[in-house]
Each structure stands twice: as structure tokens, then as C-alpha cells.
């Protein structure tokens, strides 16, 4: 997965601001014919788990928020290529709960946050049979 440096830094800032709760949002960009995703910007989205009191280790993006975002970026000739969320005081690896609720094809960028500071960011994709995630390299690119 390719991502612009400024976008990754902005996502890390979202994760830090949300701490000790999980922050989340959508990765917006395009996908090449080989399926490689290029993240050009991000859309932070309210974590609906806050209302349920579970946002320290849960995130939820409501369907209405998703649909609105998908229609908006499609109008710009872009698409939602993935989702990002933070794991406060936990590694940047998908949990069983992440896998249970994951969609195929989307890249899941997870940012680990420890004591309020964002650490590693790793990208994952659910395999077709939903049995596991495979990891994608995060290639950070400087804007031209």
C-alpha cells in the first residue's frame, strides 16, 4: 500500500488525539490495475463506540457516515480504499474481533498508540475465505 507522508502523519495525529480511545477513519485514494492501493487523503470519522462506552478497544463507523463518504469521494473520481483505526496500548496487528468484522479488499491500517504517542502503522487485508489477514508493506511517499 502506498500512502502520502502528510496523510500518514495526519492519521497518526488522529490516533494520538483519540487516545486513550480508538480513533478511526477512511482511507481515500485509488487502486491500480494490479490492485495496489494508493492513499491520497484520509477522512476522520466519529467513532460511534464512544456512545456505547466501548471506545477504548472498539471502533464503529456508522453505515450512514460510510455511504455519505463513499458517494462524496466517488464524485471526485476517487474511492474508499481502506479503513484506519488505532490500537491504544496494543500492537498494530488485527485482533480476532477485527477479522470477524472485516470486509475484503479494503486495506486496514492500524496505528499502535502507547502512552499517547503513535507508534508503528501496519496495513492488512482480509483473505478471501475470511480466515486471516495478510500484511501489506506501507510505502510512504513524499508529495510532489
Amino acid at each position: 500500500m502506498r500512502i502520502e507522508r502528510s496523510v500518514l502523519e495526519a492519521i497518526r495525529a488522529v490516533a494520538e488525539r483519540a487516545y486513550p480511545h480508538e480513533g478511526c477513519g477512511l482511507l481515500v485514494g485509488d487502486a491500480g490495475p494490479d490492485g495496489e492501493a494508493f492513499v491520497r487523503r484520509h477522512l476522520p470519522v466519529d467513532n460511534q463506540s464512544v456512545e456505547q462506552g466501548t471506545s477504548r478497544n472498539r471502533y464503529l463507523i456508522a453505515p450512514g457516515d460510510f455511504l455519505k463518504a463513499e458517494r462524496a469521494v466517488t464524485g471526485e473520481g476517487l474511492q474508499i480504499v481502506g479503513i484506519y483505526h488505532s490500537h491504544p496500548e496494543a500492537p498494530a496487528k488485527p485482533s480476532a474481533y477485527d477479522r470477524e468484522h472485516a470486509w475484503p479488499w479494503y486495506r486496514y491500517l492500524i496505528v499502535s498508540v502507547s502512552r499517547g504517542t503513535a507508534g508503528e502503522a501496519r496495513a492488512w487485508e482480509l483473505v478471501d475465505d475470511r480466515s486471516e489477514f495478510v500484511e501489506h508493506t506501507v510505502a510512504v511517499e513524499d508529495s510532489n
Binding site: E22, C24, S49, Q52, G53, T54, R56, N57, R58, Y59, L60, I61, A62, P63, G64, F66, L67, E70, Q79, I80, V81, I83, H85, H87, P88, E89, A90, P94, S95, A96, Y97, D98, H101, A102, W103, P104, W105, Y106, Y108, D128, D129, R130
Partner: protein, 97 residues
């Protein structure tokens, strides 16, 4: 005349890259059954093993959530727009704290 099912980006690779699929069906349940009959690899991403829709799969008919209508028994009219909308969920651990 068919109904149109709008497909979210995550599922388009399973329907040949298309953003919409037309099917002939009188209810939402039958529309989704027809969709997954013709695109078999979609099934595990929409339905649990017991055949129920996954909890994070939302279905709208003409912009209304079928949970506010008759759920999967919601009747369809020719020309209706059915939209599959993801809820996106996850988190660091299996149990909420």
C-alpha cells in the same frame, strides 16, 4: 423490469468490478439470494454460515434501512434501488472494556 443492487467498493471485485447489478426479485431476501447465486464468492462476506445476514451488512431500499421496513422480507418493485452499505467495526481486543 429489474431492481438494481448497488455494490460497495469492497465487494466489486466479486461482481466483475461493477458498481451495480440488476436482478429480478420480489423481495430483498430473494434479490440477495439471486445476487449470491450468480456471484457465489460474495456469499461468505454477506451471510453467516447459518444463512443470516452478517450484522455489519446493512441493506437500504431507496435510501431506507430495511430494519425500518420488513427486513429481508421487504417487498421490491421494479426500478427499486437496493444498496448494500458496510458498517465498519473492529478493535484491539475481543471483549469490550
Amino acid at each position: 423490469m429489474a431492481v438494481t443492487i448497488h455494490i460497495p467498493g469492497a465487494l466489486r471485485p466479486y461482481v466483475g468490478g461493477s458498481g451495480a447489478v440488476d436482478v429480478e426479485a420480489p423481495t430483498v431476501s430473494q434479490a440477495l439470494a439471486e445476487l449470491t447465486r450468480t456471484h457465489e464468492r460474495l456469499r461468505p462476506h454477506l451471510f453467516q454460515e447459518d444463512g443470516r445476514l452478517r450484522s455489519f451488512v446493512n441493506v437500504y431500499v431507496n435510501e431506507r434501512d430495511i430494519r425500518d421496513l420488513a427486513r429481508e422480507a421487504t417487498p421490491l418493485q421494479p426500478g427499486d434501488e437496493v444498496t448494500i452499505v458496510p458498517s465498519i467495526a473492529g478493535g484491539a481486543t475481543a471483549r469490550p472494556s
